[in-house]
């Protein structure tokens, strides 16, 4: 049974390691400051107790006043999973550090989020539109995307 670790329990571990990087941590979700996302991700991947070596899924959600990117991490050895969220507040040029250096599985998923939601991922080797053609204006999955 894949146990979903509670956000509060992991947050306490992270607080000791990276003070002040947890914005909000409750039973269901763990929101992390976007600047320290990369160190937290590598910490989650490498510490023996957690070692999340498998990135299941990355999703971006547009909550109108901020973008939220949800990283669903899984550990194949311990069979537990965790939801880590990062938010970016500016709407015209949202950026987040890319996790491709840790999990290469994020390559196409981040390109898809850039293509459909417009969130740029710093450090991504090949950040281009993946589904739409180059001249496409706007980012379709945003809530304020005007089609006509």
């Amino acid at each position: 049974m894949t146990v979903t670790l509670s956000g509060r329990e992991v947050a306490s571990k992270l607080e000791k390691q990276f003070p002040g990087s947890i914005i909000e941590s409750s039973e269901k979700n763990l929101v992390v400051r976007s600047e320290s996302l990369l160190e937290i991700a590598s910490f989650l991947k490498t510490t023996p107790g957690l070692d999340f070596d498998y990135l299941t899924c990355i999703t971006a959600v547009d909550y109108l006043d901020y973008f939220e990117v949800v990283y669903h991490l899984t550990s194949l050895t311990h069979n537990h999973s965790l939801f880590v969220k990062a938010r970016c507040y500016e709407r015209d040029n949202p950026t987040l550090p890319s996790v491709v250096s840790l999990w290469r599985g994020a390559d196409f998923q981040e390109r898809e989020i850039y293509d459909l939601m417009g969130i740029k991922f710093g450090g991504h080797p090949n950040l281009k539109r993946i589904f739409l053609w180059e001249g496409f204006k706007g980012y379709p999955l945003r809530k304020d995307y005007l089609q006509w």
Partner: protein, 367 residues
């Protein structure tokens, strides 16, 4: 004396017999050897995630049929389970067992096409795929008996199934489950020791274990590289914990291992269907759910072991009748991440086989 040769770029493009749909590879070739490759997606991007935000939870079910159009039942199951987890809806026991039967039948049908297309790329032109389509037609007849459609079933509903199975479905299923292992053995004997297939696929396109985990591959691609990870065992959903079945894994992660994993999985699916038929309880197949129900605010991630890999639905609800965000974790797209690493250095003919052994479905890749 080495003659200077210049690499040239070839589009193995959208309209190509062996790209399983409209997938395009920009290959830089030096003679026959692939020097570089860039995948280009998007030729079937229909924007399902945008359209799904304007439709109620029940109206989105037909969209999931058209995602991975080779395993529509599995897509239905994944989406409907994600909505049930989001809205906290219980499903009657009989519906759970019928869902498992349909999902496993769909796994056999999808693997038949996967193995047939892989052999088609290997050069056994049209013979094995015609035999395997003949078997798949039997499964399509079973599905047609249940829900009237051959490819896009729209059979499962939030809270159960659309309607119960008829009587002759069980007898037809019993006949199918008796015959099918014989056909799978027939294909296996015909192909397992065939030295052409062994020469073409053994040791070709090796996906090492660490790279497979690092690119978060899933399904037969991950299990082909000796990683024992199957959602049906790791995170048993619906009633999978009532059945015993093994998880086949390959040895070194080459094309032959992925082929063997798919053949073994078909045998395990037949075993599961047999057990599910014996333990099939009575009762109705659908719990009382409004057609346009308001799901509580929140988010949920439901995932199943689809034939192509881990298919997940991430749903965010703002309390209205339509999902606020409808994201699909497409196993085919993520399995393609390592395609470039597996192809570089091989010849063009092997590159086509490596791509065929990953078994993608463009409807799911481009959504």
């Amino acid at each position: 004396m080495v003659i200077k040769t210049e690499p040239f770029v070839i589009n193995v493009g959208p309209q190509h017999p062996s790209t399983h749909g409209v997938f395009r590879m920009r290959m830089t070739l030096d003679g026959e050897v692939v020097v570089d490759m860039e995948p280009v997606f998007g030729y079937l991007h229909r924007g399902i995630e945008k359209l799904a935000e304007e439709r109620t939870y029940t109206q989105n079910i037909p969209f999931t049929d058209r995602l991975d159009y080779l395993s529509s039942m599995a897509n239905n199951l994944a989406y409907v389970m994600a909505v049930e987890k989001l809205a906290g809806i219980s499903v009657p026991e009989r519906a759970e067992y019928l869902r498992v039967i349909m999902a496993e039948l769909q796994r056999i049908a999808s693997h038949l096409i996967a193995v047939g297309a892989f052999l088609n790329d290997c050069g056994a032109f049209m013979t094995p795929i015609l035999y395997m389509i003949r078997e798949r037609e039997k499964i399509l007849d079973l599905f047609e008996m249940v829900c009237g459609q051959r490819l896009t079933y729209n059979y499962m509903r939030v809270g159960g199934l659309s309607h119960d199975i008829s009587e002759e479905f069980l007898s037809a299923l019993g006949k199918f489950v008796k015959e099918m292992p014989g056909f799978i053995d027939e294909y296996d004997q015909l192909l397992a020791e065939n030295e052409i297939l062994l020469a073409r696929s053994k040791g070709v396109g090796i996906l090492p274990k660490e790279l497979a985990i690092n690119i978060s591959a899933s399904g037969p691609v991950l299990r082909g590289s000796r990683v024992k990870w199957d959602i049906r065992k790791a995170d048993p959903y619906s009633v999978y914990d009532h059945f015993d079945f093994e998880i086949p894994t390959g040895s070194i992660g080459d094309c032959y291992d992925r082929y063997r994993v798919r053949i073994e999985e078909m045998r395990q699916s037949v075993r599961i269907i047999k057990q599910a038929m014996e333990q099939l309880p009575g009762g109705e197949v659908r719990s009382q759910v409004l057609q346009r129900f308001h799901s509580p605010v929140g988010e949920a991630y439901g995932h199943i072991e689809a034939p192509k890999g881990e298919l997940g639905f991430y749903l965010v609800s703002d309390g209205s009748i339509a999902p606020y965000r409808f994201h699909i974790r497409a196993p085919s797209l993520i399995n393609l991440t390592a395609l470039r690493d597996m192809i570089i250095g091989w010849k063009l003919a092997d590159a086509i086989i490596i791509f065929g052994s990953i078994d993608i479905c463009m409807g799911e890749v481009d959504r």
